[in-house]
């Protein structure tokens, strides 16, 4: 057991985040809880540096830490994406935290730790390291969700998330233990080799697969394990919701691809049908439930469930192209959902609204605030999946991968669901542009939000019109 410098440099982005988190804690202590802008700055810089370190690792492929960490393009790409998500969340948080009167500098170190957990998850080459990453991420999130500690909804959300999360961790851990019992190893590669040699499932294996599937299903919030997500998303501070619905979901999906798409692929025939049904039910549930919401945050929560359904289609399709498509879609989804939440957060600070995320707050904002209007329109169009946005190509790639592998029912279900989804996404645009403004339309316009909205909408259009670099990268790096 010894580590070389290659190992250390291979996990440099993670190490940078560890240092960032520790520094942020110290800075926060030094500022005596009065002002957390220095902590925010440290975190933002940390994300940038870590992101640069991640990007500079493109092209190196191998296994680090005695086979515990995958040093492949998928890891690299998602490290960079997570850093972008973390950075944007960090810079647009202060205005929101100030608005909600949350003065806890712990916010930023926790955010950093949770991104660190996500990075460990996507890089992990064995189930145990993955679980450690998962817990690092989840525990930070439990605290972040209940950070608005004077608000009973936030506390309730944190409590629910903790209970359900502990539940899921237990399931996951039992699944890992049983898998170890069956295979005799926790390395993904060993699992693949074991099932390649003997693709029959005994009762113990079935239990292991079912428990792992349950654990993942909780993390990506698919039917019937999705109930927590709506309550938690609604109760959590909005910036945390924005973060949770993008980064952790993407991380869980990447690991899902690694474990089910790759490691358990030899026994795919056993769980493909099951996953297909879950995918369809999830899409239908998310979209249908989103239709009737009057609260934008809950609407976006349900939409995020529906998107998990679309993404599952890519995993069911289960070949290289499908994983690349899922990777592209995850990146696109992270960008557009983060953008949608950022826009909604700022809308909700409109003067004269009670801050309860009702749709009414959108009325007439489109013309009063062109940047907000245009960018939110782009995010909604992308969530619907209309060209020329990234969301369109994401759906196109995923569904065409499904058709190519013969899952035509899934593709059709996905398309029908996209039609339903159009209704509630378009309502946002309609309210912004076609409803008469009621009362005061002034909203605060802090610079970080403008940066976030511009960066995200430009990126969405850019990779929507010129998808070539991203999809090539994904095809090159997908496992």
């Amino acid at each position: 057991m010894s580590y070389s410098l290659t190992d250390i440099f291979g996990v440099l982005p993670e190490l940078i985040l560890v240092v960032t988190a520790i520094t942020a804690i110290l800075v926060d202590v030094a500022s005596k809880g009065k002002d957390s802008s220095a902590t925010m700055l440290v975190t933002a810089v940390g994300f940038i540096v870590s992101g640069i370190a991640a990007i500079s690792g493109v092209g190196t492929i191998g296994v680090l830490m005695n086979g515990a960490v995958f040093q492949d393009g998928f890891t690299t790409a998602f490290r960079a994406i997570f850093c972008l998500i973390g950075f944007l969340t960090a810079i647009f948080s202060p205005a929101y935290l100030h608005f909600r009167n949350i003065r806890l500098g712990e916010y930023y170190p926790l955010l950093t730790m949770s991104v660190l957990g996500m990075m460990v998850m996507v890089g992990a080459a064995n189930l145990l390291l993955f679980f450690i990453g998962l817990e690092t991420m989840s525990i930070s999130l439990y605290i972040l969700v209940s950070l608005n500690r004077t608000n009973s909804k936030s506390i309730e959300a944190g409590m629910k998330y903790l209970v359900m999360g502990a539940f899921s961790s237990a399931f996951m851990l039992y699944g890992i233990a049983l898998m170890f019992a069956v295979v005799g190893s926790i390395n993904y590669n060993d699992i693949t080799n074991y099932f390649l040699a003997d693709p029959t499932l005994g009762p113990l294996t079935i239990a292991a697969v079912a428990l792992l599937l349950t654990g993942f299903s909780f993390k990506i919030a698919v039917v019937p394990f999705q109930f927590w997500s709506v309550d938690v998303y609604e109760g959590a501070p909005a910036t945390v919701t924005a973060f949770m619905s993008t980064g952790p979901k993407a991380a869980a999906f990447v690991v899902f691809i690694r474990v089910f798409g790759i490691a358990l692929h030899p026994v795919a025939s056993h769980w493909t049908l099951l996953l297909s049904w879950i995918a369809i039910l999830t899409m239908v549930f998310g979209n249908v439930a989103a239709l009737r919401q009057t609260n934008i945050k809950r609407m976006l929560a349900y939409s995020s469930i529906a998107h998990a359904g679309y993404l599952l289609v890519g995993i069911v399709a289960g070949n290289h192209a499908a994983f690349a498509a899922t990777g592209y879609y995850l990146a696109a989804y992270a960008l557009m959902n983060l953008g949608a939440f950022a826009a909604v957060i700022i809308v909700n600070q409109r003067h004269g609204t009670d801050g309860s995320y009702r749709f009414d707050a959108l009325k007439g904002l489109g013309f009063a605030h062109p940047l907000l209007g245009i960018s939110l329109t782009i995010f909604m169009l992308s969530l619907i999946g209309l060209p020329p946005t990234a969301g369109f190509l994401g759906k196109l790639y995923v569904f065409s991968a499904a058709i190519e592998t013969g899952h035509i029912v899934l593709a059709v279900a996905g398309l029908l669901n996209s039609i339903i989804a159009t209704y509630y996404y378009l309502r946002v645009i309609v309210l912004m542009y076609m409803a008469k403004p009621e009362g005061d339309t002034t909203i605060p316009r802090p610079l970080p939000y403008a940066i976030t909205l511009i960066v995200l909408s430009v990126l969405i259009l850019l990779i929507g019109v010129f998808p070539e670099p991203v999809i090539s990268l994904m095809i090159a790096v997908a496992p």
Binding site: V209, F225, V230
Partner: protein, 656 residues
């Protein structure tokens, strides 16, 4: 040549910068920046032409290079849409023409549009239009061609409907867009057919063509690239493997469908109806549409795909027939119109007919018509742009489009008069102006490829052209002022006259360019003038001029008597053969009544019914799901346990 992308690139960036940043600040600056951009772009076009011909020499066919390209959309191997620049003699020719005319039109517009409300908007659109056309010209594959083709359609829609407060302008914009869009349907199907067979053919011949193309293109050749489609091996493959449709080979069907798109853009009969109405746009826009951009796009595409058309054979006959017919048809109508811009519009139709028929009479072994067509495109661009801009100066001075409101203007607008005369002589084919040479080439192509009827019609139309052009010339510049407005007409400002003079010089001297040498398709042709063709052609022109002078310089009674003698025929022609009315009848009484109405019923009751059912089901499902979200962790856990049990059961069942 690596910087060839700058030619369409500069107008594009200028479009963005002017539209987004400069226009809100200063309308005036917007005009100058947009104009400067086109002049810079023209400079690059010239430098590319210089580089290309000094490097590869003239007198033989130059290679087609793709010095700059990037992958845009990858569908599958060998089917990747690239964005790039194709550099070969005809694209260079078009680049030069488009940038020159567009730059001059921009300059002219600074004077013409001064004080207009949407000054900045106008220049933004003008830049977009130039960019679209240049993007189309340099397209190395049929997808970029199509995208830019549609961009041209959109920007023409914006410019024709520029005076959006005027209902007739809006209607004209819509008409242009819908008619060309309808024609593009054929284009799109044609592309799909070619693309489909291209992909099938690629594995068999791709490697060979790739080898031949090595070093010419900066990116591997794709099945939708022109270099691949136009390759004889591809045509041979499609002709031998694909079946026939209605007795035509698949390649011929694809070409004819693509020609449908060309006919729409180039306003060939019967899709010409949008062009006269497009006069509703500002006059410089008409100049740009008619001379250098939109309408020549169709001719250019046929020229671009000429090897495919020639391999299929039949499509060229169609092109020749439609071209000849439009040529004569439009010239006859032009003789009776009173709106100066409409006369020019029909003359454009007629001249486009010339270009098409020249392409139509060319063959793979004797591509003289191809050169002639490109040559005529070249010369026509200058004299037609000049005619429109001069007409714009007239309208600017007189504030009317009607030729009968003008008269006696040669003294009041001397510069406009002289430049207009130069252009009129050029289009009438009087030697040694530019139109004479290119028309001579076309007639010769018709003779040499044994198309006596085409030759006869073309010769007749040459005379007719001289007649109707001198008709408007005499009416507006000679005689006495026929209206109050004409009495007080004044010359246009210098910024408008400079482009006129520049174009007049080009219209006079462009004919001396040895086009055959540059295009390299003449096989030693175009040496001097062919007297056996030039003399009758010139005679026809002179007869037309003489007739016109006889009828329109004297008293009004002369031509009224002629019109009366022709009787009903005159009325039919004056009403443009009632083509618009026929369209109206067909769409309103037949399509709307017998096709649209049953479809509407089906749509309302069956299709909408199904959608409503779907929406109702979704809503009901939503109501049913609502109670599930109780907000209680206990319920959620219960669901969880049932889910886990369900998973195990399902996995177990799959096992046994």
């Amino acid at each position: 040549m690596r910087n060839a992308w700058l030619v369409p690139g500069i107008p594009f960036f200028s479009f963005l910068i002017v539209g987004l940043f400069i226009r809100p600040l200063s309308e005036k600056a917007a005009g100058w920046v947009a104009t400067a951009a086109l002049f810079v772009s023209a400079f690059f076009a010239y430098s590319i032409a210089w580089d290309y011909f000094s490097h590869f020499g003239i007198g033989h066919e130059g290679p087609a290079l793709v010095p700059w390209a990037f992958e845009w959309l990858r569908y599958q191997d060998h089917l990747t849409a690239t964005i790039g620049t194709l550099i070969d003699p005809i694209s260079i020719l078009l680049m030069v023409v488009v940038t020159t005319v567009s730059a001059l039109v921009h300059l002219y517009s600074i004077g013409y549009m001064a004080g207009d409300d949407g000054y900045g908007r106008y220049f933004t659109f003008l830049n977009l239009f130039s960019f679209s056309m240049l993007g189309l010209v340099v397209a190395p594959n049929i997808v970029q061609m199509f995208v830019c083709w549609e961009l041209v359609g959109v920007s023409s829609f914006l410019l024709i409907g520029y005076y959006y407060r005027k209902p007739s302008a809006v209607a004209a914009g819509k008409k242009a867009f819908i008619v060309t869009r309808f024609a593009d349907l054929g284009f799109l199907i044609g592309i799909l057919i070619l693309g489909y067979f291209g992909i099938e053919a690629f594995p068999h011949i791709g490697a060979k063509i790739q080898q031949e193309m090595a070093g010419l293109s900066s990116i591997p050749i794709q099945a939708i690239d022109f270099a691949f489609i136009n390759h004889p091996a591809t045509a041979h493959y499609i002709l031998t493997t694909a079946g026939t449709v209605l007795g035509l080979s698949t390649l011929a069907v694809a070409c004819i469908l693509i020609f449908m798109g060309c006919a729409g853009k180039s306003a060939m009969f019967p899709l010409h109806i949008w062009l006269p109405d497009a006069m509703e746009g500002p006059t410089p826009v008409s100049a740009l549409i008619h001379a250098a951009t939109m309408v020549v796009a169709g001719v250019y595409l046929v020229a671009r795909l000429f090897p495919s058309f020639a391999a299929a054979g039949t499509p060229l006959d169609v092109v020749a027939f439609i071209g000849t017919f439009t040529c004569a048809f439009a010239a006859i109508i032009a003789c009776t119109q009173d709106d100066i811009k409409r006369v020019l519009a029909f003359s454009t139709l007629s001249q486009l007919g010339y270009m098409m028929l020249a392409l139509g009479v060319a063959t793979a072994v004797s591509p003289l018509g191809h050169t002639a067509s490109m040559f005529h495109l070249f010369t026509h661009a200058f004299f037609k742009a000049l005619l429109f801009l001069a007409a714009g100066a007239l309208i600017h001075g007189v504030h009317s489009n009607e030729i009968w409101d003008m008269g006696g203007l040669r003294k009041k607008l001397p510069v406009t008069h002289l430049t207009f005369l130069a252009a009129t002589l050029a289009i009438a084919g009087v030697p040694p102006l530019s139109g004479f040479f290119s028309k001579d080439e076309i007639l010769r192509a018709a003779v040499e490829n044994h198309h006596p009827i085409v030759f006869g019609v073309a010769l007749f139309v040459a005379g007719l052209t001289a007649f109707y052009m001198f008709r408007i010339y005499f009416i507006s510049f000679w005689g006495d002022a026929r209206s109050e407005k004409a009495e007080h007409a004044h010359e246009a400002p210098a910024v408008m006259l400079i482009p006129l003079i520049a174009l007049a010089l080009l219209a006079i001297f462009a004919g001396f360019v040895p086009m055959g040498e540059y295009l390299g398709t003449s096989h030693g042709g175009h040496h001097g003038i062919h007297w056996n063709i030039a003399i009758p052609a010139t005679l026809a022109g002179l007869i037309g001029i003489a007739l016109s002078a006889f009828m329109y310089t004297g008293t009004r009674e002369r031509y009224v008597a002629v019109a009366r003698a022709l009787g009903g025929m005159y009325t039919v022609v004056k009403n443009k053969f009632y083509v618009d009315e026929v369209y109206l009848f067909v769409t309103k009484n037949i399509i709307f009544h017998y096709i649209a109405r049953p479809i509407a019923w089906f749509d309302r009751h069956i299709v909408d019914g199904a959608i409503n059912l779907y929406a109702w089901l979704t809503g009901a499902l939503g109501r049913g799901l609502k109670p599930l979200q109780t907000g209680q962790v206990q319920t959620y856990s219960a669901w969880w346990i049932s889910g886990a049990v369900f998973f195990i059961i399902l996995l177990w069942m799959k096992l046994s």
